[in-house]
Subunit: 237 residues, 2 copies
């Protein structure tokens, strides 16, 4: 079973939704047969690659709020994150570009499949949300990727060039084709979509349904009035 | 969409079930994308290839009934058939072996696919049930098959030898694997089974369900409490 997740590294609901999905997977009988594949989605492709502005300042400007108002919004998100066991430090986060982070996430999949990719995705979310690190910075991306086990030379090569940029945009086009205008957006077996950081129970239901779908048995409709058969013993009327 | 139907040429409920399925297909929006494939099932592999006994006599003997009692059973089946527009003359039918009829049905599929096979199957059911013909007799099988458009030389060749005997038995083994001990037995897309001559409405439901199954769209679960997303306009709390 394949779960594809469109998500951004700087998207708080994505990290919260990731934990809720993980909770559902922890209770899912066939979790060991589930592959999670991360797809790229940039919330703000125009965000600076050399960030200087705290996210709170950007939010206050964008929504015409006071710094205190923006901080209050962040406080509420932090409280929801805490319910999922996540310590967010949104006051430390910068408004930044994530295309390079997504390129590294694509590299991780090429080097080590969905397992390695999952470790890098988690490490980048943690770096940004829990540690307020600048995940647009190549040195930070390199450090996080190498700590996860990626080959340093390959990471340097990718960051120095433009490898996987097409893949990042192809992911975003696919999200658009699915009608997803926001993230997180989950697609199970190219069949069931889940939009948003739904409760773990909602994910659990989709997992069960998709599993049943992927493992058909011939479901027999039998008997009842009119369901007559002829067998070796004749044709009952 | 593929509908496989296990059926015998001498099985009254099979012919009745065929009409009911056809009624459902007539009201099914995607009927032109449905292929019906006939599979072999012999109700009585030990029945004589040179039949002499009327079916009613065999039934009376088998169930310890009077000839009148057996005829009454047949009358009831004829009444049900009539409701589907079928004129059964069960009093004229013989207790006979159907392996050769099934071999010709397999030949028809090889020569002309499911369309030609369907015409031969219908013609053999009609020959047996409406005309009381001996469909174990090679001359009768040849006449029916050739009238449907089968090449006479190929029909003769098959009837003179044992071609398609293995296919007949393979079909019966497959029915057993599906747990079908009687016929008609319908399997849609190797996924949904229908046992017996169910009402047309039951077939219609299975057709709709199988169609939806074969043509997935990503069904999105969205919104509701907790279904939060971040989008280009931010991350609502």
């Amino acid at each position: 079973m394949l779960i594809e997740i469109w998500s951004d590294v700087v998207c708080p609901w994505c990290y919260i939704g990731k934990r809720r999905l993980e909770k559902a997977l922890a209770g899912f009988e066939h979790a060991d047969e589930v592959e999670v594949r991360w797809r790229s989605f940039q919330l703000d492709p125009g965000a600076p690659t050399e960030p200087t502005e705290p996210t709170a300042t950007m939010l206050a400007r964008k929504y015409g709020q006071t710094p205190q108002g923006a901080r209050q919004m962040q406080d509420q998100v932090e409280a929801v994150a805490a319910e999922e066991g996540l310590v967010f430090r949104l006051g430390d986060t910068l408004h930044l570009n994530t295309v390079d982070a997504h390129r590294v996430i694509h590299l991780a999949h090429e080097l080590g499949g969905s397992d390695l990719q999952g470790r890098v995705k988690e490490a980048l979310l943690d770096a940004y949300f829990a540690r307020g690190r600048n995940v647009a910075d190549h040195a930070v991306l390199r450090e996080v990727a190498v700590a996860c086990g990626l080959d340093a030379a390959r990471v340097d090569e990718v960051l120095a060039g433009s490898a996987y940029t097409d893949e990042v945009w192809a992911d975003m086009e696919q999200a658009q084709a699915y009608g997803a205008s926001g993230v997180p957006f989950f697609v199970v077996d190219q069949r069931y979509g889940v939009s948003g950081a739904q409760p773990a129970e909602a994910f659990a239901q989709v997992l069960e349904r998709a599993w049943a779908d992927a493992h058909p048995v011939v479901q027999v409709l039998a008997g009842g009035p009119g369901g007559d058969v002829c067998g070796p013993d004749g044709c009952p009327v």
